[in-house]
């Protein structure tokens, strides 16, 4: 019986997390004056429970890769968070968002330029972004001269 309950629970968690993903926006999307200095804001979708989310800034400076852990700031609206710029100005940088909701995962590589969010150059995944995907995003930004 316990096995059936466990299977049902796992199935329910998976179904509830179906379509688990990130939505990113400019700080104005948060409708919260405290977000105005953020690099961007984001929310998770498709997760009925509280998802776990981490963020790191991934950079490429003079051909050297580096990584900076970022703090995610919760905002007034439930499930909406701000990411503040906390990485060097030199080189190309993206923010790697990783979320888990039960057994489901979601990822986003968010490109941020001097003027803020680069929506067209941000990519979203139904999994944790791989190192290769992050490297590719940084290489694309470098080839376009985005700093």
């Amino acid at each position: 019986m316990w096995r059936s309950v466990a299977i049902a629970w796992a199935l329910a968690t998976t179904l509830l997390a179906e379509g688990f993903s990130f939505t990113v926006g400019n700080p104005v999307a948060a409708q919260d004056f405290r977000a105005k200095g953020a690099a961007f804001v984001f929310r998770t979708e498709g997760c009925s429970q509280s998802p776990s989310v981490t963020a790191t800034a991934e950079g490429l400076t003079n051909q050297r890769r580096s990584s900076v852990a970022l703090r995610i700031a919760p905002l007034a609206a439930p499930g909406v968070f701000a990411v503040y710029r906390n990485w060097p100005v030199e080189g190309q940088w993206v923010v790697n968002l990783v979320g888990t909701c039960g057994t489901a995962a979601a990822g986003a590589i968010v490109a941020v330029g001097p003027q803020g969010l680069l929506r067209e150059q941000s990519t979203f995944f139904p999994h944790r972004p791989s190192a290769a995907e992050i490297d590719k995003a940084l290489a694309t930004l470098a080839s376009r001269g985005v700093q």
Binding site: G25, N26, P27, V28, A29, Q31, F33, R34, K36, A76
Partner: protein, 352 residues
């Protein structure tokens, strides 16, 4: 002519929850009815005060205390007189605290002014270094002068050359300037609706932002927002302008449609023509044809400023550009239901 009083609709009006036609009715009434104007002022003050209160974490022990209180107030226990007095005393204390807080909130202060360049005239005196201004004082810069004001503790306003600015109110709940002519750049870190700048044709209401505003004596001007949101408004007409967007205002018309500055030239020209040049039909066609997903900012504002037939066209174009949330129905949008419009705007803002 006065119609029936509008007191019972003022709270919804202050919260922006009434339809545009109700807004017009209420504002016509407020212009003529001193009693309702007083009610309105009190509601606005209360709303601003509440919005400015900081959020504080709820103590962990609050629920056990509430539960214990509920158990003690069980209907099987007859109410005893001392508890009534305890509640009365608590109520009286709350009133005293509120009165003291609002009193302090309403106290006027003086603001620091610093000279950045040249010799601005501040409160009728030529300033070479720094000084202070209070409500009623003017600050005037010539072609070579610039100055900056520390707006209480909430931010700074830089006054560009050839500008004339009046300090209108310096209360904690109302920091207000009048830009008679010229240009200012404001950087404000405060809860929304604490900082205001009046021009001859519109008022810029800070919703947590950084912006540049220029205006002339007649009321023509442009607002450009670099961070956060500004509400640009006059007499029931409101344009919400987010970072990256601009909004022109014209004499006798008020604020036009906000637009993102990276929109196409023809889109921006159409925005200007629609608002101020009276060639609405042609410019509406151009806006609908040229709009990108991000330009739903402009289209959302169009919804309340076009005829019912054109509103359907605007809705359809917006629905083609972005996914309409399930809670937003075409019918409610076409009826200009305030809650639906607000919900849609908040969702659209993720693309702005």
């Amino acid at each position: 002519m006065l119609t029936s009083h509008v007191s019972n609709r003022l709270a919804a009006y202050v919260d922006g929850e009434v339809t545009p036609s109700d807004v017009r009715t209420i504002e016509r009434h407020l212009a003529e009815c001193a009693r309702c104007r007083t009610d309105h002022q009190q509601l606005r003050l209360a709303a601003a005060t509440l919005k400015a209160l900081p959020m504080v974490p709820v103590p962990d022990n609050i629920w056990p205390l509430i539960e214990r209180g509920l158990r003690e107030a069980s209907p099987t226990v007859p109410p005893v007189r001392p508890r009534v007095w305890r509640w009365a005393a608590a109520g009286a204390m709350a009133v005293v605290i509120a009165v003291v807080a609002i009193g302090r909130w309403g106290t006027a202060t003086r603001w620091e002014v610093r000279v950045l360049e040249g010799s601005p005239v501040v409160a009728s005196r030529v300033l070479t270094d720094g000084g202070q201004v209070g409500a009623g004082d003017w600050i005037e810069t010539d072609a070579r002068a610039r100055a900056t004001i520390d707006v209480g503790a909430i931010g700074t306003v830089e006054i560009a050359p050839d500008s004339r600015v009046r300090v209108t109110a310096t209360r904690a709940n109302e920091h207000r300037l009048t830009l008679e002519r010229g240009r200012i750049h404001a950087v404000i870190s405060a809860p929304p609706r604490i900082f205001f700048v009046d021009t001859a044709s519109a008022t810029a209401v800070d919703l947590g932002c950084e912006y540049t505003l220029n205006a002339d004596e007649a009321g023509d001007g442009v607002l450009r927002v670099t961070r956060g949101w500004v509400s640009f408004q006059t007499d029931g007409l409101e344009s919400l302008v987010p970072a990256g967007a601009a909004c022109a205002t014209h004499r006798r018309v008020g604020p036009g449609l906000p637009y993102f500055e990276d929109a196409t030239d023809s889109f921006r020209q159409a925005v200007n023509d629609f608002g101020f040049q009276k060639i609405a039909s042609e410019s509406l066609n151009t806006m609908l044809a040229e709009a990108r997903a991000r330009d739903t900012l402009t289209l959302w504002h169009l919804l309340t400023r076009v005829s019912e037939a054109d509103r359907a066209r605007v809705y359809d174009r917006m629905a083609a550009l972005t996914a309409v949330p399930p809670a937003v129905s075409r019918e409610s949008v076409l009826k200009l239901d305030p809650r639906t419009l607000q919900r849609w705007r908040e969702e659209l803002a993720w693309t702005w």
